[in-house]
């Protein structure tokens, strides 16, 4: 089952108005070439789910500069002044989510769980409009699962079935997002044949992945 396609074909699958997840943490472990191709494609009115909005010239931040998002859910936007500008001008809706909550919300969607019960954000703006659930006398926020139409993730070494080996700190949200989208596209630094990756070292199984794109270094 060979899932390798061209970057152009991969990008053609993302439509105006889609909700996309993009892996990475301050652009570390982000599929940089897929992002470049999305900027070139001009696809718009997207909703972004991402840990952060990277930088104006690196990571998903390039799509912010190209004004491709109508809504952004992220834990941090401080490294990309353009996100703040668009937020303050009202051009883009920005929802700030605690990083651990964001991670669990994505995992919940991918794992068939009904939501996340966390104490993070209690007593802050984060709890506004949300239900609380009491378990054994302790109060928790009920945070709902988060899914996307498309997840664009990164892999260091990826086989043609979509199994992913991550090097260093690049696992971050990639591992979670791979499970929580209708269409999962991985941008691989290096593509290898099926059987070349040790099944003990793979962190994302190819069963989650629909397409593999070779990005190179």
């Amino acid at each position: 089952m060979n899932k390798l396609i061209s970057i152009e074909e991969a990008v053609s699958k993302i439509k105006d108005g889609d909700t996309i997840m993009v892996g990475g943490f301050l652009a570390n472990g982000s599929p940089e070439k897929l992002i470049d191709a999305l900027v070139a494609s001009g696809v718009k009115d997207l909703t972004l789910i991402c840990n952060d909005t990277g930088f104006v010239d690196k990571g998903v931040g390039k799509m912010v500069v190209a004004k491709q998002f109508k809504k952004i859910m992220a834990s941090h936007i401080g490294t990309n002044r353009e996100t703040g500008n668009q937020m303050n001008s009202g051009e883009t809706e920005v929802i700030l989510v605690p990083q651990g909550t964001l991670a669990e919300q994505i995992r919940a969607a991918g794992s068939g769980l009904g939501g996340v019960l966390t104490q993070t954000g209690l007593g802050t703006k984060v709890e506004e409009g949300k239900e609380k659930v009491v378990v054994d006398g302790k109060e928790y926020l009920l945070e709902k699962p988060l899914r996307a139409d498309v997840a664009l993730i990164y892999g260091t070494k990826v086989d043609k079935f979509g199994n992913i080996y991550y090097s260093g700190s690049t696992q971050n949200f990639n591992v979670l997002m791979a499970t929580a989208a209708d269409l999962v596209i991985v941008g691989a630094e290096e593509v290898v044949e099926i059987g070349e990756l040790d099944p003990n070292y793979v962190r994302t199984s190819g069963i989650f992945v629909h397409y593999v794109v070779e990005e190179g270094l």
């Binding site: 943490f25 301050l26 652009a27 570390n28 472990g29 840990n51 952060d52 992220a74 834990s75 941090h76 936007i77 401080g78 490294t79 703040g84 937020m87 303050n88 920005v94 700030l96 605690p98 990083q99 651990g100 909550t101 991670a103 669990e104 995992r107 966390t118 104490q119 993070t120 954000g121 209690l122 007593g123 802050t124 703006k125 984060v126 260091t156 991550y166 090097s167 260093g168 700190s169 690049t170 696992q171 971050n172 949200f173 990639n174 591992v175 979670l176 962190r203």
Partner: protein, 219 residues
């Protein structure tokens, strides 16, 4: 008077003395990151980087740079022998799950209830909370390490007026002027930098300080 860097190093050095042998610690970006440079030599502390590993090394300069490894500030970084990489859900499982002995964070405001504001100034600066809300909710000990004032204005208040990052979360505040414990009775100053008088510290603070009976010299 210390310059900005001396001030930050002074705060970081004192903060490092709070860490214990075997502790797992997360340092916020900015001033808190400097704490790793001052860990006493006779103890072993493991640092977590919430983007996905434990075993964060103190000085990226000292190792071969691998572009796949960055710290929580996005800067090139290293992993020490015995470290481990993992995903963000595992990382915040560590943080929320009570596995973190301490976190050191900066703040815009801290108040006498232990409330802290450090992620947004409405209409102006809105960087976002990143992992701070989880760290404040999950770490066994929360230390705020920051300069005592911002452009002369107190940051330690009777009540925060910026949006809170967490409620009743802060255990200890360390500044260039003093060390303050957050207690049920209020803010107790336990140590003072001998360069300042109690009156000067109080004047720079927006909350009434309780002076510890055995007030010590801050080193």
């Amino acid at each position: 008077m210390m310059d900005k860097e001396q001030t930050q190093n002074f705060i970081a050095r004192r903060t490092a003395q709070e860490l214990k042998n075997g502790d797992l610690v997360n340092l916020g970006i900015g001033l808190p990151t400097k704490v790793s440079n001052f860990v006493p030599e006779n103890i072993e502390v493991v640092f977590q980087s919430e983007n996905g590993f434990v075993g964060l090394g103190p000085e990226p300069e000292e190792c071969d740079i691998d572009s796949h490894i960055v710290n929580a500030g996005g800067m090139p970084s290293c992993i020490l022998p015995g470290g481990t990489f993992f995903d963000s859900a595992t990382s915040f499982g560590i943080i929320r799950g009570g596995h973190l002995d301490a976190t050191v964070l900066g703040a815009l405001q801290v108040d006498e209830k232990g409330n802290i504001a450090n992620y947004m100034i409405p209409g102006k600066m809105v960087p976002g909370m990143g992992g701070a809300m989880d760290l404040l909710s999950g770490a066994k000990k929360v230390i705020v390490a920051m300069e005592h004032t911002a452009r002369g204005n107190p940051k330690i208040l009777s009540e925060c007026n910026l949006p809170l990052t967490a409620v009743s979360a802060v255990d200890l505040i360390i500044t260039e002027m003093c060390v303050i414990e957050v207690t049920d009775k209020g803010l107790v100053m336990t140590e003072i930098n001998p360069e300042y008088t109690v009156e000067e510290v109080q004047a720079a603070t927006g909350a009434t300080l309780i002076i510890a009976e055995d007030l010590k010299e801050m080193k």
